[in-house]
């Protein structure tokens, strides 16, 4: 079973990389870019075949390693 994890900075946490990307898009002439937030995508292949169990397992992975929940949110998508 495949899963995709999105890790993003929490709202309210300053994202200097996102801000730099936004400035750069502006410099390229893209107008009206109001906000950019940069994050990570992590793709995971699991032996587990039960979607609920896989999701629970990946949530545990997110809490313990994949995300730093002090500043990051995560979401899990089973593919």
């Amino acid at each position: 079973m495949k899963a995709r994890v999105h890790v993003t900075l929490k709202n309210g946490v300053l994202d200097p990389q996102g801000a730099a990307v936004r400035h750069s898009l502006g410099a390229l002439g893209f107008e009206g870019v109001e906000r950019v937030r940069q994050g990570k995508i992590i793709e995971i292949e699991l032996a587990e075949t039960d979607a609920d169990k896989a999701k629970a397992q990946i949530k545990d992975m997110c809490e313990r390693l994949l995300a730093n929940t002090v500043i990051e949110d995560y979401s899990v998508e089973i593919l």
Binding site: L14, A20, V70, I71
Partner: protein, 225 residues
């Protein structure tokens, strides 16, 4: 004094840290180097140093992989039993990732790697790391990091300020760190994490000896204790 320095793939200044411990203690107990795959620590340790560098290539997040390595379970256990642990630069990141210190080190506000000597203000003398210094003293330690922008939630910051747990602040904040924080202490005041590198300024031939004060302070406190 019995010190150990933990080594991860990508650590740097680990040997400088060992030399700093050895010079400060002046005894025959040389600091022991401990590889990250070890599961146990040497017996009878007084203090553990977690060095700087780019452990595991800074993959995922700085310090994240190192914080989950086998030896760190023992380090956390050591700290929870009241052991002294100092994490410098990447070591500070490892300590926040392992939960021994609160908050997180984010990318520098200017998105640049900063490598220079910075002035720090000693904010508390109530720790073994700063007993031989005075509150308000200015010391110069080098910084070399890309992720040194200390951030924590408002409640944590209030605790750090209220409980006198901020060890050092930057005189001129180089990285955007909240409240100019350069180093913090755990609630039992025995774990110190700091971005600047005192072990890099520990020899007159390498530009100065300000950094030795911190290691001498540890020795003075732990050997007389």
């Amino acid at each position: 004094m019995r010190a150990a320095v933990i080594q991860f793939p990508g650590s740097n200044c680990d040997r400088d840290m060992a030399v700093a411990f050895d010079r400060a203690s002046g005894d025959n107990n040389k600091a022991q180097m401990v590889w990250h795959k070890e599961t146990g620590l040497p017996e009878g340790l007084d203090v553990i140093g977690i060095p700087g560098g780019f452990s595991f290539g800074d993959y995922l997040r700085c310090g994240a992989i190192a914080a989950r390595s086998p030896i760190m379970r023992s380090v956390v256990e050591f700290a929870n039993k009241g052991g002294f642990v100092i994490g410098i630069c990447n070591g500070f990141q490892v300590l926040t990732e392992s939960g021994l210190l609160p908050g997180v080190l984010m990318r520098n506000a200017q998105l640049k790697f900063i490598c220079k000597d910075v002035e720090l203000k000693v904010e508390t003398t109530n720790s073994v790391y700063t007993t031989t210094q005075n509150k308000g003293d200015i010391v110069t330690y080098p910084v070399a990091h890309h992720e040194g922008n200390y951030t924590a939630d408002a409640e944590t910051l209030k605790l750090l300020h209220g409980d006198d747990r901020i060890a050092y602040t930057y005189v001129n904040n180089p990285n955007g760190a909240t409240d100019d924080i350069a180093g913090i202490l755990s609630d039992n005041r025995r774990v110190l994490g700091m971005m600047p590198h005192p072990e890099r300024l520990n020899d007159p031939q390498l530009g100065g000896t300000d950094g030795s004060k911190l290691f001498e302070s540890i020795t003075a406190a732990l050997v007389s204790a």
